[in-house]
Amino acid sequence: MRKLLLLTAAVGLFAGTALAQGNDIEIVFAEDRVDHATFDPRVTQSRHEEQVITQVFDQLLAADENGTIHPGLATEWQVSEDGLSFTFQLRDDVTFHDGTPFNAEAVKFTFDSIVDPDLGSQGAVDIIGPYASTEVLGEHEVRVTFSRPYGAALGAFAESELSIVSPTAVESLGNDGFAQAPVGTGPFKFIEWEKGKQVVLERNDDYNWAPGYMNHQGPSNVSRAVVRFIPDASTRVAALEAGEVQVSELVPALDMRRLSSGDEFDTIVGNAAGLPFGALFNTSKGPFADKAVRQAFMHAIDRPRLAENLFFGFADPAFGPISSSTPSYWAGNDAYYGFDLDKAGELLESSGWKLGDDGVRYKDGEPLSIYFPSLLEPDTAVAVQADVKRAGFDVRVENVLKARQDELIFANDYDMLVIRWVSNDPGVLSIPFHSRNIVEPGKFKFNWARYADDGLDKLLEDAESAATPDDRDKLYGAIQKQVMDEGIFLPIHNQVQTIAHSSDLTGFRLAAGQWQLRFYEVTRTN
């Protein structure tokens, strides 16, 4: 009798499993890059590689799509009074995909290896900031210490670059081997990487430690997820419509509009954090050496209309040197440089640029001509050109390749250049605005405005080591204000991650920074 009962129970269990498998979902995600180099979170600096890393790894803290911090692999944390040390209590029920336990030693191993030059970290080494050491206080308690106050620390512990890696896997595979077959604690296991084609992920059946803010707990409903590399945007959309992929990133705006108007597909738009798509004015020479000319140029552009025309409502106009989804965004940005042709005219008149018969302004017989080599988004460059023509600017747009742009940057032969940069950290402002990043012979850097100001440099340095989040917001606010006052950067539109997916599925969630898409919570629509 007892045997029979057991048997019945077993059959019941089997039926249960079969039922669960019936609900299993397999998804293919179309990704626009093919040239991935590493899937080691400690090494990468590519937002495309992070699309895979996001699924495979967890971090000490978890940030939702708006950047709000929640408990992750650490359940609690305390900050020392001097702001230098962070003590974390870790979950005790977590295992890596290779079966080894997640513990304090793994945290120490991960952070120590990031600052080891042998690893060759490109992103994490910056994000970990003034890291000094990690102390193991117990099996599930660690203390991380910095050498100076680091206001960005809490946000940093939630970044995918500071994901906790399996020490056993790193030791057995070596750093280069781990980059090809990473092992984490995340909801998906890394199964296979077919170079130039796809990465295959499978559900981690043991996963029971999802951050509390998520709408799902336990193992994912998605049993298998393939990240398929499809570089051509038209092919991505065709494969989506043919049902070969269920979700695609970087869908062209026109297709977004078409797909969102039917019933078969839903769309998601991410406003990427970091530098918006914009242009740096060359302040070292030519007409843009004059602040009034730069300001006039910005007043002459109708950004909301331009964004609407180019992206059919799928991208918002940008108003500040960082996008509004970036931490420490300064609300004051929104008031700057509204569309005002009269104001633009006044500013140019005051600087001595008089309107000629041909609609172009002149000063001392020289026309107000602007050389605009454009590497990205040729349509946007032409739209800008058309807008500012009404104020008397004669803009010469030249579509260039990367090699040509590099040459022009080294030769200081341009009046403006476009830039964009996805980053969760307002510290990204140092890249184009700190004077140490002005291009020198043989050293490629990104301060293409060639703007040097000791005051701004000091603010940027202070902001990086701000002790509290409040100080940090204040300092980054002051930085954004100075950049806008000086008119060295023309924000044009937010960088958008345009995603379309089959409407049979729901639960896709953007990661913090609004670029990568999390597959964990995906389920079928009822």
């Binding site: 180099a37 030059p117 590399f229 570089p231 038209s234 065709a238 070969e244 043989g442």
Partner: protein, 308 residues
């Protein structure tokens, strides 16, 4: 046999010159390889120096040239700057999809090219000739990305007969047609003119006078003599294919050597570019040899021993 040995030995100077050129290009390209490898990361001078030693960049040029040759002979062309994998491994990984597409495209191209060319050649100035040459003209003129997208739209999205980016043999159909259509155009035109020339020869008139059937005259007497120019063209075209069909690979999201070459150039991954150039050189040398050998098979009057 002597001929064969002589040809094999002849490969050595060609490879040597290619390797030397590639090495010189690597030397004169501006930019410190260590900086490229660190991808702009601010690294201390200590780290840089260690990397230089690891790559052997601290040694004099002539020593590095020597060791480059020694390693190249052993088949070691170095590690990629970006992925730190051996470049030969990276090329081997992409070889299979490339060969698949080359074979598929070649099959479609040769079949279509021969049919169109022969049909046009034996009935010059007829409506058959005009339509065959029209198809051939379209084949060579249409850019691969347009052909590819149109095929995807018709057979993938609308009719859903074949997968667009799927796996297996069915996913090879559309890319093969895209490549094959392009190949067939040039081939058909060459076969047509070659047949036209042959058909006016005395031995064709003799064959006909003997009372042989029309198709025997065409297939046995004319074709064989008309084959030499098309075979030469096919050698070059096949070489193009197995060094990577970059646009077709991109449109159909196929891995392959074309993508690898494109990415290596965009990323300034010098060891990888270098290895791909060496690979391409090798491919052309081997293909040329095969084509030369085929001449002898097609037309036994061509004596290989004298060909050099």
């Amino acid at each position: 046999m002597i001929y064969f040995v002589r040809r094999i030995v002849g490969i050595i100077p060609v490879l040597l010159v290619t390797w030397t050129l590639v090495f010189i290009v690597l030397e004169i390209i501006p930019g410190d390889p260590v900086n490229l490898m660190l991808a702009g990361r601010p690294a201390s001078e200590e780290v840089r120096q260690r990397e230089r030693e690891r790559l052997g960049l601290d040694k004099p040029v002539i020593v590095r040239y020597g060791s480059f040759l020694v390693r190249a002979v052993k088949g070691d062309l170095g590690d990629s700057f970006r992925t730190r994998q051996p470049v030969t491994e990276m090329i081997l990984e992409q070889l299979r999809p490339t060969l698949e597409l080359s074979a598929g495209g070649f099959l479609v191209g040769v079949t279509l090219g021969v049919v169109l060319g022969v049909v046009a050649g034996i009935r010059p100035n007829s409506w058959l000739d005009t339509s065959a040459m029209f198809v051939a003209l379209i084949g060579v003129s249409l850019p691969s990305f347009w052909t590819g997208m149109t095929l995807i739209f018709v057979f993938g999205t609308t009719l859903r007969w074949v997968p667009i980016v799927g796996d297996g043999i069915t996913a090879l159909i559309l890319p093969s047609i895209t490549v094959g259509l392009f190949l067939s155009g040039g081939l058909a035109r060459l076969i047509r003119s070659s047949i036209l020339e042959v058909m006016n020869q005395d031995y064709i008139r003799t064959a006909r006078a003997k009372g042989l059937a029309h198709w025997v005259v065409v297939m046995k007497h004319a074709m064989r003599n008309a084959l030499i120019p098309p075979v030469t063209l096919l050698g070059v075209q096949f070489g193009l294919l197995i060094t990577g069909a970059v646009i077709t690979e991109s449109v159909f999201a196929r891995p392959g050597l074309g993508q690898l070459l494109l990415q290596s150039v965009l990323n300034k991954d010098i060891p990888l570019v270098q290895a791909l150039v060496v690979y391409a050189t090798g491919v052309y040398i081997v293909l040329n040899l095969i084509v030369d050998l085929l001449y002898g098979v097609i037309d036994p009057r061509i004596k290989l021993e004298q060909a050099t």
